[in-house]
Amino acid sequence: MTTDWSIVLDFLPQLLAGAKVTLIIALLGIAGGSVLGVVAGLMRAFGGTLLNGIAFAYVEVIRGTPIVVQVMFLYFALPVLAGLRIDPMGAAILAIVLNAGAYIAEIVRGAVLSINKGLTEAGLAMGLPYWKVLLHIVGPLAFRRLIPPLGNQFIVSLKDTSLFIVIGVGELTRTGQEIMSANFRAVEIWTAVAVLYLLMTGSLTLLLRVMEKRMRIL
Protein backbone atom coordinates (compact mmCIF):
# COMPACT_ATOMS: atom_id res chain seq x y z
CA MET A 1 0.00 0.00 0.00
CA THR A 2 1.48 3.38 -0.96
CA THR A 3 1.01 6.39 1.18
CA ASP A 4 -1.25 9.15 -0.04
CA TRP A 5 -0.97 12.28 2.03
CA SER A 6 -3.78 14.03 0.23
CA ILE A 7 -6.31 11.96 2.16
CA VAL A 8 -5.27 13.79 5.30
CA LEU A 9 -6.84 16.89 3.78
CA ASP A 10 -10.11 15.03 3.25
CA PHE A 11 -10.28 14.10 6.89
CA LEU A 12 -8.83 17.32 8.27
CA PRO A 13 -12.17 18.87 9.26
CA GLN A 14 -12.99 15.72 11.21
CA LEU A 15 -9.56 15.61 12.85
CA LEU A 16 -9.76 19.30 13.75
CA ALA A 17 -13.14 18.71 15.35
CA GLY A 18 -11.50 15.97 17.42
CA ALA A 19 -8.65 18.28 18.34
CA LYS A 20 -11.20 20.86 19.43
CA VAL A 21 -12.80 18.37 21.80
CA THR A 22 -9.33 17.48 23.13
CA LEU A 23 -8.60 21.16 23.73
CA ILE A 24 -11.91 21.78 25.48
CA ILE A 25 -11.39 18.81 27.84
CA ALA A 26 -7.78 19.81 28.48
CA LEU A 27 -8.39 23.52 29.06
CA LEU A 28 -11.42 23.08 31.32
CA GLY A 29 -9.71 20.19 33.10
CA ILE A 30 -6.49 22.11 33.63
CA ALA A 31 -8.34 25.22 34.81
CA GLY A 32 -10.39 23.24 37.32
CA GLY A 33 -7.39 21.13 38.27
CA SER A 34 -5.33 24.24 38.95
CA VAL A 35 -7.94 25.65 41.31
CA LEU A 36 -8.35 22.30 43.05
CA GLY A 37 -4.58 21.78 43.14
CA VAL A 38 -3.89 25.17 44.71
CA VAL A 39 -6.52 24.58 47.39
CA ALA A 40 -5.31 21.03 48.11
CA GLY A 41 -1.66 22.11 48.02
CA LEU A 42 -2.28 24.93 50.51
CA MET A 43 -4.21 22.50 52.71
CA ARG A 44 -1.20 20.18 52.60
CA ALA A 45 1.23 23.00 53.41
CA PHE A 46 -0.68 25.00 55.99
CA GLY A 47 -3.77 23.03 56.99
CA GLY A 48 -4.10 21.50 60.43
CA THR A 49 -4.19 17.74 60.92
CA LEU A 50 -7.70 17.42 59.48
CA LEU A 51 -7.32 19.53 56.32
CA ASN A 52 -3.87 18.14 55.66
CA GLY A 53 -5.20 14.61 56.12
CA ILE A 54 -8.06 15.11 53.68
CA ALA A 55 -5.77 16.59 51.03
CA PHE A 56 -3.20 13.85 51.61
CA ALA A 57 -5.79 11.09 51.15
CA TYR A 58 -7.04 12.73 47.94
CA VAL A 59 -3.55 13.05 46.48
CA GLU A 60 -2.63 9.47 47.39
CA VAL A 61 -5.81 7.96 45.92
CA ILE A 62 -5.42 9.82 42.64
CA ARG A 63 -1.68 9.36 42.29
CA GLY A 64 -1.97 5.70 43.19
CA THR A 65 -4.51 4.78 40.52
CA PRO A 66 -4.35 4.97 36.71
CA ILE A 67 -6.32 7.76 35.06
CA VAL A 68 -8.09 5.23 32.84
CA VAL A 69 -9.45 3.52 35.95
CA GLN A 70 -10.47 6.90 37.36
CA VAL A 71 -12.48 7.89 34.31
CA MET A 72 -14.07 4.42 34.09
CA PHE A 73 -15.07 4.79 37.71
CA LEU A 74 -16.58 8.23 37.11
CA TYR A 75 -18.44 7.11 34.01
CA PHE A 76 -19.53 3.57 34.84
CA ALA A 77 -19.31 3.10 38.61
CA LEU A 78 -20.61 6.43 39.87
CA PRO A 79 -24.06 5.98 38.26
CA VAL A 80 -24.38 2.63 40.03
CA LEU A 81 -23.07 3.90 43.35
CA ALA A 82 -24.76 7.28 43.56
CA GLY A 83 -27.30 7.18 40.77
CA LEU A 84 -25.33 10.05 39.26
CA ARG A 85 -25.28 9.91 35.48
CA ILE A 86 -22.52 11.95 33.81
CA ASP A 87 -22.12 12.25 30.04
CA PRO A 88 -18.76 11.13 28.58
CA MET A 89 -17.59 14.71 28.09
CA GLY A 90 -18.37 15.59 31.71
CA ALA A 91 -16.64 12.47 32.97
CA ALA A 92 -13.58 13.27 30.85
CA ILE A 93 -13.32 16.84 32.13
CA LEU A 94 -13.90 15.78 35.73
CA ALA A 95 -11.23 13.09 35.41
CA ILE A 96 -8.66 15.65 34.26
CA VAL A 97 -9.70 18.07 37.03
CA LEU A 98 -9.28 15.41 39.71
CA ASN A 99 -6.12 13.94 38.23
CA ALA A 100 -4.29 17.18 37.45
CA GLY A 101 -5.46 18.61 40.79
CA ALA A 102 -3.62 15.91 42.74
CA TYR A 103 -0.34 16.44 40.92
CA ILE A 104 -0.67 20.21 41.02
CA ALA A 105 -1.31 20.00 44.78
CA GLU A 106 2.10 18.45 45.24
CA ILE A 107 3.69 21.03 42.93
CA VAL A 108 2.07 23.88 44.89
CA ARG A 109 3.05 22.40 48.24
CA GLY A 110 6.64 21.97 47.13
CA ALA A 111 6.88 25.49 45.73
CA VAL A 112 5.35 27.14 48.78
CA LEU A 113 7.53 25.21 51.23
CA SER A 114 10.66 25.97 49.21
CA ILE A 115 10.36 29.68 49.98
CA ASN A 116 12.88 30.71 52.64
CA LYS A 117 11.23 30.84 56.10
CA GLY A 118 13.18 34.00 56.84
CA LEU A 119 11.05 35.94 54.34
CA THR A 120 7.89 34.86 56.13
CA GLU A 121 9.43 35.97 59.43
CA ALA A 122 10.43 39.30 57.93
CA GLY A 123 6.83 39.86 56.83
CA LEU A 124 5.38 38.77 60.17
CA ALA A 125 7.89 40.92 62.07
CA MET A 126 6.48 43.99 60.32
CA GLY A 127 3.09 43.27 61.81
CA LEU A 128 1.47 41.72 58.76
CA PRO A 129 -1.16 39.03 59.34
CA TYR A 130 -0.10 35.60 58.09
CA TRP A 131 -2.52 35.57 55.14
CA LYS A 132 -1.05 38.84 53.86
CA VAL A 133 2.45 37.40 54.13
CA LEU A 134 1.29 34.47 52.00
CA LEU A 135 -0.51 36.73 49.53
CA HIS A 136 2.15 39.40 49.06
CA ILE A 137 5.46 37.64 49.77
CA VAL A 138 5.34 33.84 49.64
CA GLY A 139 2.68 33.63 46.92
CA PRO A 140 4.42 35.70 44.24
CA LEU A 141 7.74 33.93 44.88
CA ALA A 142 6.18 30.47 44.87
CA PHE A 143 4.26 31.29 41.69
CA ARG A 144 7.49 31.82 39.81
CA ARG A 145 8.76 28.43 40.93
CA LEU A 146 5.45 26.83 39.96
CA ILE A 147 5.62 27.67 36.29
CA PRO A 148 8.13 25.06 35.04
CA PRO A 149 6.61 22.01 36.79
CA LEU A 150 3.10 23.33 36.12
CA GLY A 151 3.87 23.53 32.40
CA ASN A 152 4.96 19.94 32.53
CA GLN A 153 1.69 18.91 34.19
CA PHE A 154 -0.40 20.85 31.64
CA ILE A 155 1.25 18.94 28.81
CA VAL A 156 0.77 15.61 30.56
CA SER A 157 -2.91 16.43 31.16
CA LEU A 158 -3.44 17.42 27.54
CA LYS A 159 -2.03 14.10 26.38
CA ASP A 160 -3.96 12.17 29.03
CA THR A 161 -7.18 13.16 27.26
CA SER A 162 -6.27 10.57 24.62
CA LEU A 163 -7.00 7.85 27.19
CA PHE A 164 -10.67 8.83 27.22
CA ILE A 165 -11.01 6.81 24.06
CA VAL A 166 -12.17 4.15 26.55
CA ILE A 167 -15.42 5.98 27.35
CA GLY A 168 -16.07 6.99 23.77
CA VAL A 169 -15.41 10.74 23.93
CA GLY A 170 -14.92 12.05 20.40
CA GLU A 171 -11.53 13.59 21.08
CA LEU A 172 -8.59 13.54 18.70
CA THR A 173 -7.27 10.02 19.30
CA ARG A 174 -10.75 8.53 19.12
CA THR A 175 -11.41 10.44 15.91
CA GLY A 176 -8.20 9.08 14.41
CA GLN A 177 -9.17 5.60 15.47
CA GLU A 178 -12.59 5.91 13.82
CA ILE A 179 -11.18 7.19 10.54
CA MET A 180 -8.54 4.49 10.60
CA SER A 181 -11.01 1.65 11.06
CA ALA A 182 -12.88 2.80 7.96
CA ASN A 183 -9.98 3.28 5.54
CA PHE A 184 -6.91 1.63 7.14
CA ARG A 185 -4.71 4.64 6.29
CA ALA A 186 -2.60 4.12 9.41
CA VAL A 187 0.52 6.06 8.38
CA GLU A 188 -1.28 9.16 7.16
CA ILE A 189 -3.90 9.37 9.88
CA TRP A 190 -1.68 8.63 12.88
CA THR A 191 0.94 11.02 11.55
CA ALA A 192 -1.69 13.72 11.25
CA VAL A 193 -2.96 12.97 14.76
CA ALA A 194 0.56 13.13 16.18
CA VAL A 195 1.26 16.43 14.42
CA LEU A 196 -1.94 17.93 15.81
CA TYR A 197 -0.94 16.89 19.35
CA LEU A 198 2.52 18.39 18.78
CA LEU A 199 0.97 21.65 17.64
CA MET A 200 -1.14 21.83 20.78
CA THR A 201 1.62 20.89 23.22
CA GLY A 202 4.06 23.10 21.29
CA SER A 203 1.80 26.14 21.67
CA LEU A 204 1.51 25.39 25.38
CA THR A 205 5.29 25.17 25.71
CA LEU A 206 5.71 28.43 23.84
CA LEU A 207 3.16 30.17 26.05
CA LEU A 208 4.96 28.98 29.20
CA ARG A 209 8.33 30.07 27.82
CA VAL A 210 7.00 33.57 27.28
CA MET A 211 5.62 33.62 30.82
CA GLU A 212 8.91 32.40 32.27
CA LYS A 213 10.82 35.03 30.34
CA ARG A 214 8.56 37.83 31.45
CA MET A 215 8.86 36.78 35.06
CA ARG A 216 12.26 36.46 36.65
CA ILE A 217 12.39 33.01 38.22
CA LEU A 218 13.89 33.60 41.64
Partner: protein, 242 residues
Amino acid sequence: MSIIQFKRTFKHFGDLAVLDGVDLTIEEGEVVVLIGPSGSGKSTLLRCINGLERITGGDLIVDGLSVAGGPRQLRQIRQEAGMVFQQFNLFPQLTALDNVAFGPRRVRGASKAEAEVQALDLLAKVGLRDKAHSFPSALSGGQQQRVAIARALAIKPKVMLFDEPTSALDPELKQEVLNVMRGLAEEGMTMVVVTHEMAFAKQVGTRLIFMEHGHIAVDGDPREVIDTPPNERMKDFLRHVE
Protein backbone atom coordinates in the same frame (compact mmCIF):
# COMPACT_ATOMS: atom_id res chain seq x y z
CA MET B 1 9.56 54.97 80.68
CA SER B 2 10.15 51.26 80.34
CA ILE B 3 9.31 49.94 76.91
CA ILE B 4 10.13 46.25 77.39
CA GLN B 5 9.49 44.28 80.57
CA PHE B 6 10.30 40.60 80.97
CA LYS B 7 8.46 39.31 84.05
CA ARG B 8 9.77 35.87 85.02
CA THR B 9 9.57 34.97 81.35
CA PHE B 10 9.97 31.36 80.28
CA LYS B 11 10.44 29.90 76.81
CA HIS B 12 10.55 26.15 76.48
CA PHE B 13 11.43 24.10 73.45
CA GLY B 14 10.11 20.72 74.53
CA ASP B 15 11.58 20.12 77.97
CA LEU B 16 14.41 22.57 77.49
CA ALA B 17 13.96 25.99 79.14
CA VAL B 18 15.73 28.30 76.70
CA LEU B 19 14.57 31.27 78.76
CA ASP B 20 14.50 30.20 82.38
CA GLY B 21 12.51 32.84 84.25
CA VAL B 22 14.07 36.02 82.89
CA ASP B 23 13.43 39.36 84.61
CA LEU B 24 14.56 42.36 82.60
CA THR B 25 13.35 45.92 82.14
CA ILE B 26 14.52 48.04 79.21
CA GLU B 27 13.92 51.79 79.24
CA GLU B 28 13.32 54.02 76.22
CA GLY B 29 16.55 55.24 74.67
CA GLU B 30 18.66 52.36 75.95
CA VAL B 31 21.01 50.51 73.61
CA VAL B 32 21.14 47.04 75.10
CA VAL B 33 23.78 44.68 73.76
CA LEU B 34 23.10 40.98 74.30
CA ILE B 35 26.02 38.59 74.25
CA GLY B 36 26.53 35.01 75.29
CA PRO B 37 27.60 31.62 74.03
CA SER B 38 25.62 29.79 71.38
CA GLY B 39 22.49 28.30 72.91
CA SER B 40 22.47 30.72 75.85
CA GLY B 41 19.06 32.08 74.79
CA LYS B 42 20.05 35.53 73.52
CA SER B 43 18.42 35.19 70.10
CA THR B 44 15.35 33.57 71.66
CA LEU B 45 15.08 36.46 74.13
CA LEU B 46 15.15 38.91 71.23
CA ARG B 47 12.63 36.93 69.17
CA CYS B 48 10.22 36.72 72.12
CA ILE B 49 10.01 40.52 72.17
CA ASN B 50 8.18 40.61 68.83
CA GLY B 51 6.49 37.26 69.29
CA LEU B 52 8.37 35.36 66.58
CA GLU B 53 8.86 32.96 69.48
CA ARG B 54 5.87 32.67 71.80
CA ILE B 55 6.68 32.70 75.51
CA THR B 56 5.59 29.66 77.52
CA GLY B 57 5.50 31.17 81.00
CA GLY B 58 5.54 34.44 82.92
CA ASP B 59 4.79 37.61 81.00
CA LEU B 60 6.50 40.01 78.60
CA ILE B 61 5.16 43.53 78.13
CA VAL B 62 6.18 45.55 75.07
CA ASP B 63 5.01 49.16 74.88
CA GLY B 64 2.25 48.40 77.37
CA LEU B 65 0.99 45.26 75.59
CA SER B 66 1.55 41.63 76.54
CA VAL B 67 3.09 39.41 73.84
CA ALA B 68 0.84 36.65 75.20
CA GLY B 69 -2.20 38.51 73.83
CA GLY B 70 -4.15 37.66 70.69
CA PRO B 71 -3.01 38.02 67.07
CA ARG B 72 -4.20 41.60 66.74
CA GLN B 73 -2.28 42.68 69.81
CA LEU B 74 0.79 40.81 68.58
CA ARG B 75 0.64 42.64 65.25
CA GLN B 76 0.40 45.92 67.13
CA ILE B 77 3.54 45.02 69.10
CA ARG B 78 5.35 44.04 65.91
CA GLN B 79 4.62 47.43 64.40
CA GLU B 80 6.40 49.02 67.34
CA ALA B 81 9.38 46.65 67.20
CA GLY B 82 11.33 46.62 63.94
CA MET B 83 13.54 43.61 63.37
CA VAL B 84 16.79 43.15 61.47
CA PHE B 85 17.86 39.58 60.75
CA GLN B 86 21.24 37.94 60.40
CA GLN B 87 20.40 36.82 56.85
CA PHE B 88 18.84 40.19 55.85
CA ASN B 89 15.69 38.46 54.51
CA LEU B 90 14.99 41.11 51.89
CA PHE B 91 12.14 40.24 49.53
CA PRO B 92 14.03 39.12 46.41
CA GLN B 93 11.26 40.00 43.95
CA LEU B 94 11.19 43.64 45.05
CA THR B 95 13.66 46.46 44.48
CA ALA B 96 15.36 48.12 47.44
CA LEU B 97 12.79 50.91 47.22
CA ASP B 98 9.84 48.52 47.12
CA ASN B 99 11.28 46.53 50.02
CA VAL B 100 11.37 49.68 52.14
CA ALA B 101 7.97 50.90 50.92
CA PHE B 102 6.40 47.49 51.50
CA GLY B 103 5.69 47.85 55.23
CA PRO B 104 4.11 51.31 55.09
CA ARG B 105 1.90 50.23 52.19
CA ARG B 106 0.82 46.82 53.42
CA VAL B 107 0.88 47.40 57.18
CA ARG B 108 0.19 51.08 57.64
CA GLY B 109 -1.97 51.45 54.52
CA ALA B 110 0.02 54.36 53.11
CA SER B 111 -0.43 55.36 49.46
CA LYS B 112 2.20 54.22 46.94
CA ALA B 113 3.50 57.75 46.39
CA GLU B 114 3.63 58.53 50.10
CA ALA B 115 5.42 55.27 50.88
CA GLU B 116 7.97 55.81 48.13
CA VAL B 117 8.87 59.32 49.24
CA GLN B 118 9.46 58.04 52.74
CA ALA B 119 11.39 55.01 51.43
CA LEU B 120 13.73 57.24 49.43
CA ASP B 121 14.41 59.30 52.55
CA LEU B 122 15.21 56.17 54.52
CA LEU B 123 17.45 54.81 51.78
CA ALA B 124 19.28 58.15 51.80
CA LYS B 125 19.66 57.81 55.55
CA VAL B 126 21.43 54.45 55.16
CA GLY B 127 23.47 55.84 52.26
CA LEU B 128 21.78 53.87 49.48
CA ARG B 129 19.56 56.34 47.68
CA ASP B 130 21.36 55.57 44.42
CA LYS B 131 20.53 51.86 44.81
CA ALA B 132 16.78 52.44 45.14
CA HIS B 133 15.97 50.57 41.96
CA SER B 134 18.41 47.70 42.44
CA PHE B 135 17.18 44.25 43.32
CA PRO B 136 18.67 42.64 46.44
CA SER B 137 20.59 40.14 44.32
CA ALA B 138 22.54 43.06 42.84
CA LEU B 139 23.58 44.41 46.26
CA SER B 140 26.47 43.42 48.53
CA GLY B 141 25.69 41.87 51.90
CA GLY B 142 26.39 45.14 53.68
CA GLN B 143 24.12 47.04 51.32
CA GLN B 144 21.37 44.45 51.72
CA GLN B 145 21.58 44.75 55.49
CA ARG B 146 21.37 48.55 55.30
CA VAL B 147 18.25 48.23 53.12
CA ALA B 148 16.88 45.79 55.71
CA ILE B 149 17.46 48.39 58.43
CA ALA B 150 15.66 51.02 56.34
CA ARG B 151 12.82 48.55 55.78
CA ALA B 152 12.46 47.97 59.52
CA LEU B 153 12.54 51.72 60.21
CA ALA B 154 9.86 52.36 57.61
CA ILE B 155 7.07 51.12 59.89
CA LYS B 156 8.23 53.76 62.42
CA PRO B 157 8.97 51.41 65.30
CA LYS B 158 9.68 52.58 68.85
CA VAL B 159 12.35 49.93 69.33
CA MET B 160 14.71 48.17 66.93
CA LEU B 161 15.72 44.54 67.41
CA PHE B 162 18.94 43.36 65.78
CA ASP B 163 19.64 39.61 65.57
CA GLU B 164 23.37 39.26 64.84
CA PRO B 165 23.14 41.86 62.06
CA THR B 166 26.79 41.62 61.00
CA SER B 167 27.47 37.92 61.52
CA ALA B 168 26.83 37.00 57.89
CA LEU B 169 29.02 39.80 56.55
CA ASP B 170 32.63 39.88 55.43
CA PRO B 171 34.79 41.88 57.84
CA GLU B 172 35.14 44.86 55.51
CA LEU B 173 31.36 45.12 55.13
CA LYS B 174 30.52 44.97 58.83
CA GLN B 175 31.56 48.55 59.47
CA GLU B 176 29.08 50.19 57.10
CA VAL B 177 26.25 48.40 58.90
CA LEU B 178 27.61 49.21 62.36
CA ASN B 179 27.92 52.88 61.34
CA VAL B 180 24.24 53.00 60.39
CA MET B 181 23.38 51.41 63.74
CA ARG B 182 25.55 53.91 65.57
CA GLY B 183 23.70 56.73 63.82
CA LEU B 184 20.38 55.31 64.96
CA ALA B 185 21.59 55.06 68.54
CA GLU B 186 22.74 58.68 68.42
CA GLU B 187 19.24 59.71 67.36
CA GLY B 188 17.96 58.13 70.54
CA MET B 189 16.42 54.97 69.09
CA THR B 190 15.84 52.24 71.66
CA MET B 191 17.81 49.22 70.46
CA VAL B 192 18.31 45.62 71.53
CA VAL B 193 21.27 44.10 69.72
CA VAL B 194 22.50 40.52 69.71
CA THR B 195 26.07 40.74 68.46
CA HIS B 196 29.66 39.60 68.84
CA GLU B 197 31.05 43.06 68.03
CA MET B 198 32.64 44.05 71.33
CA ALA B 199 33.98 47.34 70.01
CA PHE B 200 30.45 48.32 68.99
CA ALA B 201 29.15 47.21 72.40
CA LYS B 202 31.64 49.43 74.16
CA GLN B 203 31.25 52.49 71.95
CA VAL B 204 27.51 52.47 71.27
CA GLY B 205 25.95 50.24 73.92
CA THR B 206 24.54 51.81 77.07
CA ARG B 207 24.04 48.44 78.71
CA LEU B 208 25.53 45.01 78.28
CA ILE B 209 23.85 41.73 79.13
CA PHE B 210 25.72 38.42 79.19
CA MET B 211 23.41 35.44 78.96
CA GLU B 212 24.04 31.89 79.97
CA HIS B 213 21.71 28.86 80.09
CA GLY B 214 18.62 31.00 79.70
CA HIS B 215 19.60 33.36 82.54
CA ILE B 216 20.96 36.87 82.63
CA ALA B 217 24.36 36.25 84.18
CA VAL B 218 25.78 39.77 83.89
CA ASP B 219 24.00 43.11 83.42
CA GLY B 220 26.05 46.28 83.53
CA ASP B 221 27.85 49.14 81.82
CA PRO B 222 29.48 47.77 78.65
CA ARG B 223 32.91 49.34 79.20
CA GLU B 224 33.13 48.22 82.81
CA VAL B 225 31.96 44.64 82.34
CA ILE B 226 33.89 44.02 79.12
CA ASP B 227 37.16 45.35 80.55
CA THR B 228 36.73 43.61 83.90
CA PRO B 229 34.27 40.72 83.50
CA PRO B 230 32.62 40.05 86.87
CA ASN B 231 32.09 36.44 85.94
CA GLU B 232 34.62 33.72 85.09
CA ARG B 233 32.58 32.29 82.20
CA MET B 234 32.09 35.71 80.68
CA LYS B 235 35.85 36.23 80.82
CA ASP B 236 36.20 32.91 79.02
CA PHE B 237 33.58 33.87 76.44
CA LEU B 238 35.23 37.23 75.70
CA ARG B 239 38.56 35.51 75.12
CA HIS B 240 36.94 33.43 72.39
CA VAL B 241 35.17 36.37 70.75
CA GLU B 242 38.06 38.76 70.51
